[in-house]
Amino acid sequence: MSRPMLIARDVRKDFGSFTALQGVSLDIHGGEVLCIIGPSGSGKSTFLRCLNQLERLDGGGIWIDGEMIGYRREGDKLYPLPDKDVARQRLATGMVFQRFNLFQHMTALENIIEGPVTVQKRKKAEAIDEAMVLLERVGLADKRDAYPSQLSGGQQQRVAIARALAMKPKLMLFDEPTSALDPELVGEVLQVMRGLAQSGMTMIVVTHELGFAREVAHRVVFMDRGAIVEAGSPQQVLGNPQQARTRDFIAAVLN
């Protein structure tokens, strides 16, 4: 088998005396869709944030396409990378947040072209053309000039997905993308994500939507108390969980 796109080895993270991640190891291959489920406080969002360096690791390592992220390795020593290199490495991943985090002072279109124009220094006209294709893809071409405050939660999240895609990432990270949405708006966001999965995008999705995980994921990981408890195919983990904690969690979510 070829080398995985993303390799995480024994990832540890502490917040003061609280251990959020106690040694998480995970491989993800190109084109794979992985869903991480688990109770709140289980460390699944923290793990995702470690993957694009919004949190710095307290131990272990993460490699994307063979490049160690966040650190430069010399022998047995790890030197933290400067801000500029961290920013460059983040281009490999696109991130979608629970609370959308659209830039409030920019329109939908301006949000999408901000990365390509300001960070990647690409031509504005070209960036706008591509942004319009993306807006079309998430079904919001008519909202190009709307400010985030004028959009519903579901629309904001779809623009946020388009903004992440505009950077042409290798890997998309979703941090509970539907948790802040009204129930009737969840479907439109999942629809966009389903389409993205079908197009072959590599995705890691932290979610409570077990139906989505069952239908779209190639692999489901159940995390609890900062560690992976169980991992496998959706049928295995969701349909026939082997661990008591997984069973309890799935029963609690379904009821």
Binding site: A87, Q104, S149
Partner: protein
């Protein structure tokens, strides 16, 4: 339903509930009229007092556009602009330094804010103006130097005093503005590959401006009037020039009126400018009913 209404119409009590032909009468605001009469009476009294008082209104008109006064006005405006620009630049730099993870930069910024907010402005002006007492010559030894009194003119002393003092206050205003922007905005900026400084410039500062502008506008207005303090170190702004004139012609109140009217005029213009600036930076933060109106229009 219809049948029931018909039935009620036939009952004897139902007539009291007939709403056709009712008229809403606007409430009478007796209090407002009373207040208006009282205020007008007081105003008339004040106007009469000034009309009868020993004020030569002709002199006010005569000196309103006197060369010395207009020069003072220009100097006041120039100083306000220069000191404010210096203050804002220093304010932004020191606000970023205060929030920096670098303890050295943070320490320097904390000291700067502590020192310049902690001493009176007039004292700082006098210190700058008398710098020559400590350092008779400025420059790099053996390469270049110049006599301090030639560099530290009243203009330079006032600019340094006011601008550096203003920077200490503006730093705190800018810091509160930066803090007002949700941390999710910085994270989203980082996620699309922005460095810390780019995120600050492109994402955080434009949104912080909404919070920063009202207090800075307030301080610009304050600065217009604070320049009058520079009269103690011979900077010839409006008030000092007005004083110079009344030392000669003895029309004290008249000249003070001239200065007061000019200050009010400048401040009024600035207030209008602030309104438009605030509107520009409210982008994306329109009030909910504006959004509704926009949607209704579309």
């Amino acid at each position: 339903m219809h049948a029931e209404t018909q039935k009620a119409g036939n009952d004897s009590w139902a007539g009291d509930y007939n709403v056709s032909g009712l008229q809403i009468v606007a409430p009478r605001h007796y209090g407002r009229w009373l207040a208006a009469f009282a205020i007008i009476a007081i105003l008339l009294f004040i106007v009469k007092a000034f009309a009868d008082g020993q004020i030569a209104w002709k002199v006010v008109g005569q000196f309103f556009t006197a060369t010395a006064i207009l020069n003072g006005l220009v100097n006041t405006i120039i100083m306000t602009v220069c000191a404010m620009v210096l203050g804002i630049v220093l304010g932004v730099v020191f606000a970023i330094m205060v929030m920096s993870p670098n303890p050295v930069l943070k320490g320097v910024a904390v000291f700067y804010i502590w020192f310049f907010r902690g001493t009176p402005l007039i004292l700082q002006l006098l210190l700058w103006f008398n710098l020559a007492l400590v350092f008779p010559r400025l420059g790099i030894p053996d390469v270049f130097s110049i006599r301090t009194v030639e560099v530290i003119t009243p203009f330079v002393a006032t600019l340094l005093g006011m601008g550096i003092n203003q920077g200490a206050y503006t730093a705190e205003v800018v810091r509160s503005g930066i803090l007002s922007v949700d941390s999710g905005q910085t994270e989203a900026a980082a996620a699309i590959g922005m460095t810390r400084l780019t995120a600050l410039r492109r994402i955080v500062m434009p949104q912080a401006m909404r919070v920063i502008i009202p207090p800075v506008g307030n301080e610009v207005i304050s600065m217009v009037k604070l320049t009058s303090i520079a009269s103690v170190i011979q900077y010839s702004e409006i008030l000092r020039n007005a004083q110079t004139i009344y030392y000669a012609n003895n029309y004290v109140i008249e000249m003070l009126f001239v200065a007061a009217i000019w200050y009010l005029a400048v401040v009024t213009v600035l207030s209008i400018g602030q309104h438009f600036l605030e509107r520009h930076f409210a982008k994306g933060h329109r009030k909910p009913d504006d959004v509704q109106k926009a949607e209704a229009a579309a």
